[in-house]
Symmetry: C2
Subunit: 283 residues, 2 copies
């Protein structure tokens, strides 16, 4: 891998760049970004070596597309128009169905690998990029059979070099499951933050009374709206389904409290404690 | 402080014991607990020196009541019956209105200080006790004027020695605010855990796809039902109010998605991002 182009030099794209630079010091890293302050910042932080644009990627061995999922829909076809036969292009978006559909009939579809590394933080932009972000994380690959075998291998070797484990899934199943384990968490956190902010007009009170429990539960409410709005839009049907179930569970819990059925309230919590064992598996 | 009695040798009581032992090595720590395995464990872990019972606390200088809030209602009056005039008794419960009401007319009311240290983890029992748990944490004191001045001073000096900052509040205001910043977070987390577990019958899928975001948002769903059920019961009215508002906010978010009003979805998140500044204040 001589030339790597990172489209979107933020948290995910930037973290890929840092790891690649460390593992393969001879690689030249090119950055593409709609925000030229971010490009400057990425150069200053040593994330990329040079700035380029998507019309100039014919020499790339690898193109990483790490931009909001709505922008990916319009930009990925152009990238595929411009890459050489030996280039592998992968995206990192949190939705997979629309993007796979979008490039389904592209003549260079076989240069593309649809990926979703389950990694990140609530921060964004080049300054959020960190080394080792992908270590021991899962990377979900969709429609692997649509990618040329040699290029699949190249991408998957890179993912393994960065410490990721690979799971294969179809785009529909990916979007459905991820709505539960990721998208819903973000909405529950945003709405918790909203509920508390609305009530506690006097911020000193939240400030002083909030403990680490509240902090951990609203952490995701710091996430970037520019990244998350198009995710919710693309995964609308699945996300609405998870929201319906979540709202129903909350209503039922409330109704048990109203009926003074605290034995059932206890049981609700006891049954969910089982999440411990599941979470232990994540570590 | 020669003799300190810890009623409830779990996460909070045990952590107080560990800090007191470190700061005041001459203190003898007595443990009281309904669970004799916990007492044994607390002795083995060096949390307490001796086991006692609440009929034998006449020599105590300090009694810490760190048990579920429903048990506190029945046990605290007995403790106050049994302590000497110079003993200070404080509780650490997450609800304050019922307990203050319960001992309002107790002849030894002035030996009692109603406290709520905003500290803890999702774990419970003696093995969850840790040194330094209270450092830089807020301790909310209710009805301070009902406690003898000399004994107030003694307790508050201890809290400061352990690194806590003190806030004074009336029990009604405490229970109302804490419903938002603590109790609601626990329910949102438990119900998120429930929603995901119900859907993802095949646990391998949660396991592999869940990232640190999900982990942080459901962390509180590991909490002890024995501790939380009586809290929700005692703070029922406030908690139901927070649940109503939370459910309404979730419904509204869902309805914006259904109407394809993703500009408004963006704005909802952008407005809530402001939680960053509030959380920065907690640190």
């Amino acid at each position: 891998m001589k030339n790597v182009v990172v489209v979107g030099v933020g948290l995910i794209g930037g973290s890929f760049a840092l790891d690649i630079k460390e593992k393969f010091p001879d690689t030249i890293l090119y950055g593409v970004d709609a925000n030229h302050y971010h490009l400057e910042e990425a150069i200053n932080l040593g994330i990329i070596d040079k700035v380029t644009d998507i019309d100039n990627i014919g020499n790339a061995d690898l193109v990483i597309v790490a931009i909001p999922v709505d922008v990916t829909l319009s930009v990925l076809p152009i990238i595929l128009d411009n890459v050489s036969d030996d280039a592998i292009v992968f995206d990192v978006g949190s939705t997979k169905e629309d993007i796979c559909l979008k490039v389904k009939d592209h003549p260079n579809r076989r240069n593309f690998l649809a990926a979703h590394p389950i990694a990140g933080t609530e921060f964004s932009g080049p300054s959020a990029a960190v080394k080792g972000l992908f270590k021991n994380k899962t990377n979900i690959i969709c429609e692997v059979e649509e990618t040329t075998f040699k290029l699949q291998e190249k991408a998957i070797q890179l993912f393994k070099d960065l410490g990721m484990r690979i799971r294969y899934m179809n785009p529909k199943a990916h979007d459905k499951h991820i709505a539960y384990v990721s998208h819903l968490s973000h909405i529950s956190s945003f709405m918790l933050g909203k509920t508390v902010i609305e009530k506690e007009k006097n911020e000193r009170d939240i400030f002083d009374m909030a403990g680490s429990g509240f902090e951990s539960t609203v952490r995701l409410a710091k996430s970037s709206p520019a990244m998350w709005t198009p995710i919710f839009k693309q995964n609308k049907t699945n996300v609405i389904e998870t929201l319906d179930e979540y709202i129903n569970n909350l209503k039922q819990f409330k109704s048990l409290m109203e009926q003074n059925d605290f034995e059932a309230v206890y049981k609700e919590m006891e049954d969910t404690n089982h999440i411990k064992d599941i979470l232990n598996g994540i570590k």
